[in-house]
């Protein structure tokens, strides 16, 4: 059952991800990004990372996409008009994507992946215990980072930027 769900949701992730980059209208792209992220949260649930699935939905689908939509509304973006794509740029772009797919494929084929029989359960209790014991210092640094980001955004969005 979970195997079938894996195929459904991974197909959905890839399909919506492709639609994000194929859509001409930025609003449609943002909507398909929401679908991608929610399917990704479903994959997290299949991997028993329940807390991360919830965080993914709340932070990404709830906050980040809303921010994107606000900015799209603020900038009043129209549909991207068709411009001539430079052949050299497109060729090098596709070449680099093919190269990175090749690197992924080779490294996946050459390593023998070991899995342990007892798999990790990402419940809130275990995750929180680890977060506040082993990873307490990075956690505090992260809170400072959020403060810095907040101050930076306020400074950047002032009208008379000197």
């Amino acid at each position: 059952m979970s195997d079938i769900l894996f195929y459904i949701f991974s197909g959905l992730v890839l399909f919506c991800g492709a639609l994000v980059i194929l859509n001409r209208n930025p609003v449609n792209s943002a909507m398909f990004l929401v679908l991608t992220i929610i399917s990704m949260a479903a994959l997290f649930v299949l991997l028993h990372a329940f807390f991360l699935a919830a965080v993914q939905v709340v932070v990404y689908a709830g906050a980040v996409i809303v921010l994107f939509l606000f900015v799209i509304m603020l900038l009043d973006l129209k549909e991207e008009q068709r411009r001539k794509i430079k052949a050299f740029g497109a060729a090098t772009g596709i070449l680099s994507v093919i190269a990175i797919v090749f690197v992924f494929w080779r490294s996946l084929a050459q390593t023998s992946l070991t899995t342990v029989p007892v798999m990790a359960e990402g419940g809130t209790l275990d995750l929180g215990r680890l977060l506040f014991t082993n990873y307490a210092l990075p956690f505090e640094i992260l809170s400072v980072l959020l403060l810095v980001a907040m101050v930076g955004v306020i400074l950047l969005s002032k009208k008379d930027l000197k």
Binding site: T36, L74, F104, G122
Partner: protein, 104 residues
């Protein structure tokens, strides 16, 4: 249809394909905001690989890293979008080919 049971490889393949899709979007699209969305796609692909690794190796540390990545990504999106808005105020465009101030 005879499918092998889903293991770590399946998740890594999905993650790799997703990352390539995001990279393709960053290279091919010309709208600053859509490029930013594709960056989010790439971050999500890395998250999926980390969570799968954490699950199949029996250690929760990978999930902690994903938690940190999500937080940093939220901060990064806030700062990046503020930069895009500031740029749009000055130049009235969100199209990367119109931003040629540093071109020789």
């Amino acid at each position: 249809m005879n499918l092998t049971p889903v293991g770590l490889e399946h998740y890594l393949v999905v993650s790799g394909l997703m990352f390539s899709l995001g990279l393709l979007g960053v290279i091919m699209r010309r709208n600053l905001l859509v490029i930013y969305m594709c960056l989010e796609l790439m971050l999500n692909a890395a998250n999926l690989a980390l969570v799968a690794m954490a699950r199949f190796n029996g250690k929760l540390d990978g999930q902690i890293v994903v938690f940190f990545i999500i937080t940093v990504a939220a901060a990064e999106v806030a700062v990046g979008l503020a930069l895009i808005v500031a740029l749009y105020r000055k130049r009235r465009t969100a199209h990367v080919e119109d931003l040629t101030a540093m071109k020789l």
